[in-house]
Amino acid sequence: MSAEQVLFWVFAVATVVAAGGVILARNPIACAMSLVATFFFLAGIYVLLWAHTIAAVQVLVYAGAIMVLFLFVLMLMSLSDQGPVMTFSAWRIAGVVAVVTVLAALVLVFRRLPAQESLAWSGDAARLGDFGTIKHLGAVMYTQWLFPFEAVSLLLLVAIVGAVVVAKARV
């Protein structure tokens, strides 16, 4: 087993266990903490995928900013956790069956993908050195992805206005 294989299985199992905590824990705070853990382990997986920049952003934005928002809201609400954690009704059970079917289908599809023992392009040293670095991503983002970048700036403006409008006490 190579280091990548060991780390993959460690992070993969940890990610799934933490995600299980999100969907199973009774206390919403425990769910939120499990979600933080999921994000961290996923960042580890991203590093294995040579996506160092995205891994850093994942920790900063997801595990940092977004989760802090979630925790703030949880504390504002001081929820009492009574009653069952989950509900089951006929259409929900049908939904669960559909989800399991989707998962089985996806796993079948992925297992049939042509196996690539070695990544064909990874002998290319120049490309490998550049791959996933912030320099490379920045260069591509500000030359080729201009329009999505501007659209995101519009999105952030809309989100600010929307959040302020909705969170106002009374209109």
Binding site: P114, A139, P148, L154, L155, V161, A163, V165
Partner: protein, 519 residues
């Protein structure tokens, strides 16, 4: 480093959205610097901005179809005409909001700004030609609509509707993204042009991956256009949102989503066997047409009834989409079935142009009609009703013809147009759309659509019967009057009848929409 070479031509397609965003920012600033007690001027700014953006889009609509901004957006008549329709709906919605908000002391610049932002999102969504761009623009549209839905804080309904819309929207967006990720894996790109080029080979190598991506993207879109069986909570959202916002959602959001769906799948079906998308869209269309009309039947709540009716109308639009993807070489062509295309003249004619015309004209009709119908409902709402359950009951309309003949006549026109009764624009829209479907050989599906819409006529006629044949209850509320509401209702009523009698140059303009980029 290759610095992109952008010219003015590249900015042309996004110009209408730019106008809308500038208008929204002006409105936001007006709230800071001009906050007077009387804020009707904000609605006027909103309306004028929308009309200006519509004029810019109309100017663009005569440009030849081409990709712009490095292939992330396209400029074609279809998307630009859709922007015109969206701007028309936005202008009417912001006029309707003035009276509605004024009555509730809730007029704020942010509300109109969010309406303009959502219109900008719709316009950008209609022209997006890359998955991430599409997703971002979809979120611009959705986030402003979530906020608009939860804008009023009267009673529990608006927050509940906003929450349900949010969960549904975020869920469908993640389905769409996961599908996009799988398609990226199969083709190596997220730009529709490149995806379309790479798909035939990818499909040959990894059909499972392509089908999984296709299915997930389709499910994401189906939630957005509220097609049965992806419609749960849609009626709750439409019922709980402020009525002018419901009008905008039922017309504008749906229109933009349908255009984005057509644009996406024009590229996604390359290389796939043609029966798959055809059967998928036909099934969605059939379920939505039949389901929407049947679910509307038992509703006494007129606003909720119109919510189900908008699901049915999504079904008619999907019928047009299915016609677009009808397999060119139909096998077993003798049989007329629900999911078969039967060529009428031996060979399949090129129906794309008439389908686009039908879709656009249908959406034009639905925009003016739905805005008018929801506008009338909004005017009949009382401020005190917001926590009651009978706010939008049919009884509200009883005897409206004696009390307010003008309002009743306008509402009757809207109802007949929704039902597709001549001489209204709704009839003409159905005629074009169903005609295009029949030309494409979708006989069985078109017959099912006609039957479903006949069942739907009962629902709409019931409102007319209540207005004209039932005595008014003693405590019947008079419509709330505000000059902006009246202008909007008169404009949409005139449009419903005038376009139904004399479509004039509009159909000829829409015929140019046959030029869709990449088709």
């Amino acid at each position: 480093m290759n610095i992109p070479h952008l010219t003015f031509q590249d900015l042309l397609p996004v110009a209408p959205a730019g106008v809308l965003v500038v208008g929204a920012i002006v409105l936001l600033l007006s709230e800071v610097f001009l906050s007077t007690a009387q804020r009707t001027y904000q609605a006027v700014i909103g309306t004028l901005t929308a009309l200006l953006a519509g004029a810019v889009a109309m100017n663009n609509a005569f440009e030849p179809a081409r990709a712009a901004l490095q292939g992330y957006v396209v400029l074609d008549p279809f998307s630009q005409w859709m922007t015109v329709l969206v701007c028309l709906g936005t202008a009417l919605a912001s006029l309707l909001s003035a009276g509605f908000l004024n009555h509730r002391n809730a007029e704020r610049g942010e509300f109109y700004a969010l309406i303009l932002f959502s219109a900008a999102g719709m316009s950008l969504l209609a022209m997006s030609a890359e998955f991430i761009t599409l997703f971002i623009n979809l979120e611009v549209l959705s986030i402003s609509t979530y906020a608009l839905t939860a804008f009023l804080r009267r009673g529990p309904r608006p927050a509940e509707a906003g929450f349900k819309y949010f969960i549904l929207g975020a869920f469908s967006a993640s389905l769409l993204l996961y599908g996009a990720a799988l398609l990226y894996g199969a083709t190596g790109s997220t730009r529709f042009l490149d995806v379309g080029l790479a798909l035939p080979q990818a499909f040959a190598q990894q059909p499972g991956l392509v089908y999984a991506g296709f299915g997930l993207v389709l499910a994401g879109f189906a939630f957005k256009v509220a097609a049965v069986p992806f419609h749960m909570w849609t009626p709750d959202v439409y019922e709980g949102a402020p009525t002018p916002v419901t009008a905008l959602m039922s017309a504008g959001v749906k229109a933009a989503a349908v255009v984005a769906l057509v644009r996406t799948f024009l590229f996604l079906v390359k290389g796939l066997s043609p029966e798959v998308p055809f059967i998928a869209f036909s099934a969605l269309a059939l379920l939505s047409m039949v389901g929407g009309n049947l679910l509307a039947l038992p509703q006494r709540n007129v606003k909720r009834m119109l919510a189900y009716s908008s699901i049915a109308h999504a079904g008619y639009l999907l019928l047009g989409v299915a016609a677009l993807f009808a397999p060119a070489t139909a096998k077993g062509s003798d049989a007329v079935g629900l999911f078969t295309a039967t060529p009428l003249l031996g060979s399949m004619p090129n129906v794309a142009a008439s389908v686009y015309k039908g879709l656009l004209f249908y959406l034009l009709g639905y925009t003016v009609t739905a805005l008018g119908a929801f506008g009338t409902i909004a005017a009949l709402e009382r401020r005190e009703d917001e926590t009651r359950s009978n706010t939008w009951d049919l009884e509200r309309f009883a005897g409206l013809a004696q009390r307010k003949p003008g309002w009743a006549a306008a509402m009757a026109a809207f109802m007949l147009s929704l039902g597709g009764v001549p001489p209204t624009v709704g009839f003409l829209g159905k005629l074009y759309l169903f005609g295009a479907a029949v030309d494409a050989g979708l006989l069985g599906l078109a017959v099912a659509g006609v039957l479903a819409s006949v069942a739907g006529v009962y629902v709409y006629l019931r409102v007319v019967v209540y207005m004209y044949m039932r005595p008014a209850p003693a405590d019947a509320p008079a419509p709330f009057r505000h000059w902006t509401t009246e202008v909007a209702l008169i404009a949409s009523a005139v449009a419903v009848v005038a376009l139904g009698v004399l479509p004039g140059p509009v159909t000829e303009w829409f015929s140019r929409a046959g030029m869709v980029f990449g088709s």
